[in-house]
Amino acid sequence: MLILTCPCCGIAADETELSPGGQAHITRAGPGADDAAFEGYLFLRTNPRGVHFERWRHSMGCGKWFHVARCTVTLEVFATYTAQTAAPPRQVVDEIIARRPDWQWESN
């Protein structure tokens, strides 16, 4: 069971109070993108073994969206942070690197 702390209301909510929103920080292709790039934006998702960024909504609580950085292997949660950002904030990236020295941020 995942327990994520909502950055909007400060509640440590378990996953049954939340709704998953899939992979985070996806860059929209276009306008004018070719079909392959747009297909990638719409359908192609990473499935990493390790650090993963996700969107979650605190649907049975304050109703706000937020971002989560977590490990898909250990279910360790590195950080939860605001939804109003296109890339993980510096301190989140530093926190992950401190615990996973081999990892580095790649936008997609």
């Binding site: 209301c9 400060g10 440590a12 049954t16 049975m60 304050c62 109703g63």
Partner: protein, 188 residues
Amino acid sequence: MSDPVTPLKGARYDGFCQITEIGPRGMIALRGDLVALAGTLRAVAGLDMPCQRQVTAAGGNACAWMSPDEVLLMLPRPEVEGALAQLAAALQNLHHLAADVSDARALLRITGPLAREVLAKLTPADVSPAGLPVGELRRTRLAQVPAALRVIAEGEVEVICFRSVAQYVFDLLSMAARPGGEVTLFRA
């Protein structure tokens, strides 16, 4: 205007805790920049803007923090119309939403020393005295539906849920409060 009718018409269940439907109560959902709304809230309802998850109360009115841009203003039912008019007048230059949600919500009260236990059977939230202190409003779920829990005092809990699921929530709470189902983990 017609008299307000509560969804369960004041239903009551007596188990190891009492489950009672309360209300009607006036409720106004107020959304916008909470810092900018604070002065108006004080002028209209005589209440301070609550901090995160807190409830402020004074003279029969109460204001509960719902999310970073929403509070629930609770006041006697006959005063809703006047308060909405005052809010509209005071906030005409500020982007906001003030909506009467009195008929969209149901209110239930759980009374008894094991009131926290009734909740603990139905919600994933930490309802221990440390996890849900007296006076805080915790939005969570009860079984399959969203609800807001507020411990008014030890042994007295108020539940706010949507009107459409009032019977479901009442049945859930009644089932959880059936005599013989005491776990006595949280005794007030």
